[in-house]
Amino acid sequence: MSKDIRIKRGLSLKLEGEAEKELVKAPRSKTYAIKPPDFHALVPKMVLKEGAKVLAGDELFFSKYTDELRFTSPVSGVLKQIKRGEKRKIMEVIIEADPEDTYRDFGKMNASSSDAEAVKQRILESGCGAFINQRPYDIVADPKDTPKAIFISAVSTAPLAPDWGFVLKEKLAAFQEGINALKKLTPGKVHLGVDASSAQYLKNIEGVELHTVKGPHPAGNVGVQIHKIDPINQGDRVWTVNPEDVTIIGNLFLTGNYIADKTIAVTGSEATNRKYFSTKIGAEVSDVIQKVDEDVRIISGNVLTGLKLAYDQHVSFFSNEVTLIPEGNNYRAFGWLPFTYNNIHSNSRTSLSWLFPNRKFKPTTNLNGEERALVVTGEMEEVLPMDVYPMQLIKACMAGDIEKMENLGIYEVAPEDFALVEYVNTSKIEIQDVIRLGLDLMITEVG
């Protein structure tokens, strides 16, 4: 049964540097890294010491407060280094890879005909629990919860986002098995959002409630789809999984191995080899992009929500995309004059960029202004297609007013839903960070 979701408010940024639809096998990286900070609010506890030999699927660390939640190695090799940051916080767990992977055997299993508890245990022991995120709070799901429903969004509306139809088209069997497994985890439904491209391949997937999603970004955000399909109430738990990670879960049941395959789209105006690369989770970013200098920013993810990377670092756990854009650390004379510098996109009309709706822009990382107090009203609502008052919620988060945050719908939002709000904001406030801190406060105070 297909239900349509139509989003009106939002903004699809058209940027230079889309990836060509050609799948290339990336060279095998020397090292792979799992970065605990990719899992927000996780406190990792190491199981292995440096120098230990690991198989693909062997446990590296687990969550200190939820010890069923395990994090496993994407490749086989030797645990080379545990990189620590301030206060000995574990930043990266680096594995030196063997030339060929040897997998730990979890045993094949038919997800549909198995017991729900067995399916859950299999997902957890293989480390696939890390793929399952929880709303509210946008953190790794607690296996002890029973989610109201599970949501998967195979809709690409984010700027330069990978085309999910292209990524998944060769992996449909694994995707179906992944859905079968996820279905066991919830008494509710598994909702799958598709766009025109991914619908071609995913329309025959069984056991899901299919939703055709149309409209500008952030229509592709799973949070927006949840809001339209079955909004989160206080006390609810819903889980979300990225589409390609569903295939990893599926492969676990089909083959008995934890095959951490990841497709990474290399995009952005500064990337020279803009293609889809087939690689493993935590690969070195230098294996898929050309050598770049300081004047190019490497982003693991998209330009709105991604994480800044250095050339010698590894791609983030959840990223299906690496974006290269020019750094914007240059001055612009009289940049405040309206109707000048029209090559920079603006959702307001103080730049004439809106006269060229089909033009592809080449944005830099310049802030295009300075931080100020919130003054302009109405601009945020234009890009947030939710029944939520964004400015009031942001102010409640800044003030740390828990009751107000709750009333205004903090449970329904994640930082990524506010990425466009942050983009269009005249006062250049770090809104995703404000929302994140608000959510963190809710985790500690309400849980």
């Binding site: 940024l13 909004p231 109430n233 920013r297 982003i299 330009v303 709105l304 929500t305 991604g306 800044k308 854009i325 750094e327 914007g328 650390n329 240059n330 001055y331 004379a333 009289f334 940049g335 405040w336 004059l337 309206p338 510098y341 603006s346 959702n347 307001s348 009309r349 103080t350 730049s351 960029s353 830099t364 990382t365 310049n366 802030l367 295009n368 202004g369 300075e370 931080e371 100020r372 107090a373 003054v375 302009v376 009203t377 109405g378 609502e381 008052y389 400015m391 009031q392 009333n407 205004l408 719908g409 930082p415 983009y423 005249t426 006062s427 250049k428 770090e430 809104i431 995703q432 960070d433």
Partner: protein, 393 residues
């Protein structure tokens, strides 16, 4: 440009963090960022950002004010020369007005920006752009012969009490420019009302008909100007509020650039028209009105400061309602109350100022109820969800 950039970097050296004049950095930064959009890059969150910033937004409002300001300069001279008699050219009129108005603008900016800079240094934040608009608005809504020292005092009051006392730009409750006018209006009533102050140097001549239309209507006389004159603005009044035509030009720019809320502008004009129509309908209900109630409703839209107030003051995003629905209500009530105050209280012929200030105070209340309905909707959803669970069990 490159040379200026290098000079600036040199000048800024002693103001860098940890250096001798670190405290005064906001003042230097304000000048620097006026010349150059800084090279700051995104550090957290979204890696790319919209081209708009507060400077752009504020300058757009200043641009929107320019047509009305230029007309105001010419009209000041035009009123002066026509009332006092004699031949004059376009440039005579414009020059006369400019000589009066430019000093007012200079005083307003000098005093206001001085306070803003001082507060920025004192509080250690960057100088906010809000005053660029306020500083131009204040002279534009004062009578032409308003003494400069009174203007300066009004600016001080508006910036200190109207804005900084609440925490600066973005935190104020009342529109600062209107706060300045209200201060002047109540502190120096003889300079702000009557029939002598609206025409340049009128007090030096006896027997002048320099009354504003609202003034003469309140006195029970017919307005001596045609509707077209009122629309184009060939009438006495505060410096730049007379020409509805040029104000609407500015409104067009504000609406096209999405800087001003078309919702507030439209609903305020509707509100004023509705109130006007109600008063016009009084005779048919058996109530005899007076000159003001019988004044045609469309006339109310084009005389006095109504258009100027609605387009440039009611749309101030900080003091206006912030929610979409709230903006409709807020705008409507401004128009409605402005005409009501005009008619019911002839001692304050300019009801727009009071109408907007009153609604500024009530804007948070309007927003509160709009948001409350959103909160109620959410709570209802939770209730129905729990009810479903209960019946399912």
């Amino acid at each position: 440009m490159e040379w200026i950039r290098q000079r600036l970097d040199k000048i800024k050296e002693p103001f860098a963090p940890g250096k001798k004049y670190e405290k005064y950095a906001p003042a230097v930064n304000a000048i620097d960022t006026f010349l150059f959009t800084p090279n700051h890059t995104t550090q957290k969150g979204a890696h790319i950002r919209d081209a708009v910033d507060l400077k752009r937004t504020m300058i757009t409002v200043v641009l929107a004010l320019i047509p009305a300001l230029i007309f105001g300069m010419w009209n000041a001279g035009y009123q002066h020369f026509t009332q006092l008699g004699g031949d004059f050219t376009f440039w005579d009129a414009f020059g006369h007005g400019a000589l009066k108005i430019v000093p007012m603008i200079v005083v307003s900016y000098a005093v206001g920006l001085g306070i803003e800079f001082a507060f920025a240094i004192f509080r250690g934040h960057e100088v906010n752009e809000g005053y660029l608009v306020t500083g131009l608005l204040i002279p534009m809504i004062m009578p032409i012969d308003f003494p400069l020292w009174m203007l300066a005092l009004s600016v001080v009051f508006a910036v200190l009490v109207g804005k900084e006392a609440f925490g600066g730009t973005g935190m104020n409750i009342l529109n600062p420019a209107l706060t300045a006018r209200a201060f002047a209006f109540f502190a120096y009533p003889t300079y702000m009302s009557g029939n002598q102050v609206w025409v340049s140097e009128a007090s030096s001549v006896d027997a002048i008909s320099g009354e504003t239309i609202l003034g003469s209507l309140a006195a029970g006389e017919n307005a001596s100007y045609s509707m077209m004159d009122m629309f184009y603005g060939f009438i006495p009044g505060s410096v730049a509020e007379t020409s509805t035509l040029f104000i609407l030009l500015g409104a067009l720019l504000l609406i096209l650039t999405k800087v001003g809320s078309w919702r507030i502008i439209l609903s305020a004009f509707i509100g004023a028209a509705v109130m006007g129509l109600i008063f016009n309908a009084l005779p048919s209900m058996g109530v005899t009105g007076n000159e003001l109630t019988n004044f045609p409703w469309y006339g109310h839209l084009i005389i006095g400061g109504l258009a100027f107030g609605i387009v440039f003051m009611a749309t101030d995003p900080v003091s206006a309602a912030q929610t979409m629905k709230g903006k409709w209500i807020y705008g409507f009530l401004i128009g409605f109350l402005s005409v009501m105050i005009r008619v019911f209280n002839p001692a304050y012929p300019e009801g727009v100022m009071l109408g907007i200030l009153l609604m500024n105070v009530f804007a948070p209340t309007i927003d509160h109820y709009v948001i409350q309905s959103n909160i109620k909707r959410r709570k209802k959803r939770i209730e129905s969800a729990t009810a479903q669970v209960k019946t399912a069990v």
